[in-house]
């Protein structure tokens, strides 16, 4: 046991001291907190005021265009040349020129500005003109606009998730986002650290230090020490991220205040309703983060242990990284498939595809974690995790048997058949 600990310690320190690790650890929380701050920032989108001079020859629009916080319309009856001059003097941001028009065929409306007006500005003005013309048409046909508006109903479905004893307000899109991000993170970390294991094993084999090592420690212990050592690195990184993110989110309101942005009050439902950014934020806050984090960590651990055993097998079997391709394929394929199918899985998170993919151990780490944001029955999670643990044990057994022979083999081209032969060899 003491020797495994020494290997764990070596692997851990060798990686934690790397510059790349420190940089990743520091940048990670910034990215995470950014995803939290983004909705807030979105809800505070810029409110630049624009003044528009309206030259209306038709007479339909005088004082009819609706002013808003961003747009103010001024109406004057002056020649176009004079208006242009006023605009050049920056008295107005744009000039809206409306000729005499037929309300059944409104053409020839122009907007003049010093620089190309933004799409949202043009769109806003178009909407207002359309609504004025619409009103005119109602009148022309003798219809009452208010009566018509009362006919069209407005329905908004609030999605409520029924938990054991409480109803939580959920947002399908937020679930989707969280699922996708957690699924992707599992994929990314398993891949990233799995390849690190493979490289580590291969380097020991290439540099031939492995022969010295296994004259002091059993190959299986060496492999296990390496896998656990790297796992410790991952968890250090996670913990650092969670801690740093927590600190950052404590300071987020202060930080935002620095930029003149107030942290919105999500406890006020009325305020939430009219603001998309706030709605996302409140849904995020309502999320059962603890369950998700625990699930994430458990399935990451299981998936990581299983995959890294397989990656270690590959590392032990090959002499050069260029030979890795053929053996990497069958390992990375299930991971990639589970990532690609996330879209399909999440569009029906409780359907058969989602169910089976979250049971098969090779795909379950990514898929189950992604599904968990939608609420998965406990028995499914437990079964899936149990299967994952079994697969981990099987993978480690196989890896251990191939590893102890592979690390001593040099120069021979290895095929799947040889791997199987090694696995069955006694010693």
């Amino acid at each position: 046991m003491h020797k495994i600990f020494l290997v764990i310690q070596r692997e851990y320190l060798a990686r934690v001291r790397k510059k790349s690790f420190i940089i990743m650890t520091l940048i990670g929380p910034l990215l995470i907190s950014l995803t939290w701050m983004l909705p807030v920032l979105l809800s505070m989108k810029g409110k630049e005021k624009k003044e528009i001079l309206v030259l209306d020859d038709s007479g339909y629009f005088i004082n009819q265009l609706q002013n808003s916080e961003e747009l103010t319309f001024r109406y004057e009856n002056i020649p176009a040349e004079q208006a242009k001059k006023k605009m050049k003097d920056k008295q107005f941001d744009a000039v809206l020129k409306i000729p005499k028009i037929d309300i059944n065929n409104p053409t020839g409306i122009e907007i003049l500005s010093n620089n190309t007006p933004s799409v949202s500005l043009v769109g806003g003005i178009e909407n207002r003109i359309e609504s004025v013309i619409e009103n005119l048409r109602y009148e022309q046909m003798g219809l009452n606009k208010e009566a018509i508006q009362q006919l069209s109903p407005k329905v908004s479905i609030a999605t409520m998730k029924l938990d054991e004893n409480k109803e939580t307000k959920s947002n399908a899109w937020v679930s989707f986002g969280i699922s996708y991000i957690s699924g992707f993170m599992i994929y990314m970390f398993i891949f990233m650290y799995g390849v690190q294991i493979m490289r580590g094993v291969m380097e020991e084999k290439q540099s031939r230090i492995v022969e010295i090592l296994i004259s002091s420690i059993k190959p299986f212990e060496l492999m296990l020490g390496k896998i656990i050592g790297v796992a410790a690195v991952v968890f250090t990184q996670f913990s650092a991220w969670i801690a740093l993110s927590a600190v950052l989110s404590l300071f987020a309101p202060i930080l935002l205040a620095q930029f003149g942005i107030e942290m919105p009050d999500t406890s006020n439902p009325a305020a939430i309703q009219n603001n998309e950014g706030l709605e996302i934020l409140s849904a995020l806050q309502a999320f059962d983060a603890n369950t998700l984090i625990i699930g994430f960590l458990l399935f990451f651990l299981g998936g990581y242990l299983m995959y890294s055993a397989l990656f270690a097998t590959v590392g032990s079997a090959i002499d050069h990284e260029t030979d890795a391709q053929q053996f990497m394929m069958p390992i990375s394929l299930p991971l990639i498939i589970s990532l690609i199918s996330l879209g399909a899985v999440l569009s029906d998170p409780h359907g058969p595809v989602a169910f089976w993919m979250s049971m098969i151990p090779l795909t379950s780490p990514v898929v189950m974690v992604a599904r968990m944001a939608f609420g998965v029955p406990l028995w499914e999670v437990t079964l899936s995790f149990a299967l994952l643990c079994l697969a981990f044990i099987a993978a480690t057994w196989f890896a251990g048997r191939v590893y102890r022979i592979g690390i001593l083999m040099h120069g021979s081209k290895v095929s799947y058949k040889t791997l199987w032969k090694w696995a069955r060899m006694s010693q």
Binding site: L6, R208, I212
Partner: protein, 308 residues
């Protein structure tokens, strides 16, 4: 006997790496394990290091069956050298020494001693890849002996060492032996055995062909031949194995004396007929012994095959 191995057989798949191998290694000897590449030397060494296990046979260390606890008492320098390139010298040695069971404080004390001895102290916090090849080899040697093993196994210890380092290592080997260690060293370069080994065993194609004390083996293989420097006509009955011209009209002859003839009798016979420049008994080199032993072994196998 510090190591006694009997009946060791090892197959890799259908390839026979070692067959019915017996060897007894006496304590405080410098024991040469000789044989051409692929003879089975490394296989035996790996079995002794418990890296692989034999299919048949048993090994005893000081009378006890080979067990994991012996790992701490064996130092191993593999043929293919290697260290963690990106790890610091001091940390690396500390890691390897602790793997061999030393406590941290004891390990760092001894590492400092050895690094000082090899003038490597200024490099203790440098990465291995920043060291020269020669320095790396010294570090590797320290890793082999830092835990004061009673059995030091060196696989081709001089390959890759420059002459200066090879000399240094040779001195260290002799010193460690005088402190009580036994050294087993394997090589295909026979001449290095002549220099420092006192015992040896020869393997060829997975089987033992010869073993014993170096002196005794050499005695067994010397064939009453002499290097003889002479100027003059040789009698017709003199058995000359080979001859070369030397300076001043002398010839260097390799001669074989007749059955029962002593050197004195021979010289008495030769002195009147020419000038004797010198005579010395011809002692075969380990290399020629090996070639001869392998040839004889081959002939025996061929005869056996012929009869079979």
């Amino acid at each position: 006997m510090i190591v006694s191995a009997s009946n060791i057989t090892k197959y890799y798949g259908s390839f026979r790496a070692l067959h019915d191998f017996h060897v007894e290694i006496p304590e405080q000897s410098i024991f040469g394990l000789l044989g051409p590449n692929g003879a089975g030397k490394s296989t035996f060494i790996r079995i002794l290091n418990q890296i692989i296990f034999s299919d048949e046979g048993s090994i005893h260390i000081e009378g006890e069956p080979l067990a994991p606890k012996h790992i701490a008492r064996i130092g191993y320098l593999p043929e293919e050298r290697g260290l963690y390139k990106k790890m610091q010298v001091g940390e690396q040695l500390l890691f390897l020494a602790q793997l061999k069971g030393l406590s941290k404080s004891e390990a760092s004390r001894r590492i400092r001693e050895w690094l000082t001895k090899f003038e490597l102290m200024p490099w203790i916090n440098k990465k291995v890849e920043d060291l020269s090849k020669g320095m790396q080899q010294k570090v590797q040697f320290i890793a082999t002996v830092v835990h004061q093993p009673m059995l030091i196994i060196l696989d081709e210890p001089f390959s890759g060492f420059d002459p200066v380092n090879a000399e240094l290592i040779k001195d260290e080997i002799l010193q460690l032996r005088s402190q009580g260690a036994t050294v087993l060293f394997s090589t295909h370069r026979m001449e290095s055995v002549d220099e420092i080994c006192d015992h040896m065993v020869m393997i060829n194609k997975s089987e033992k062909v010869l073993e014993g004390k170096i002196d005794e083996v050499k005695k067994r293989f010397k064939k009453n031949t002499y290097q003889f420097r002479f100027r003059g006509e040789c009698p017709n009955d003199l058995h000359i194995v080979s001859e070369e011209k030397a300076e001043n009209g002398y010839r260097d002859l390799l001669i074989k004396l007749g059955e029962g003839e002593t050197v004195n009798e021979f010289l008495t016979r030769m002195l009147p007929i020419g000038d004797v420049g010198g005579i010395q008994e011809h002692i075969p080199t380990i290399n020629s012994i090996f070639i001869q032993a392998v040839k004889e072994d081959l002939r025996i196998t061929q005869i056996q095959n012929h009869h079979a």
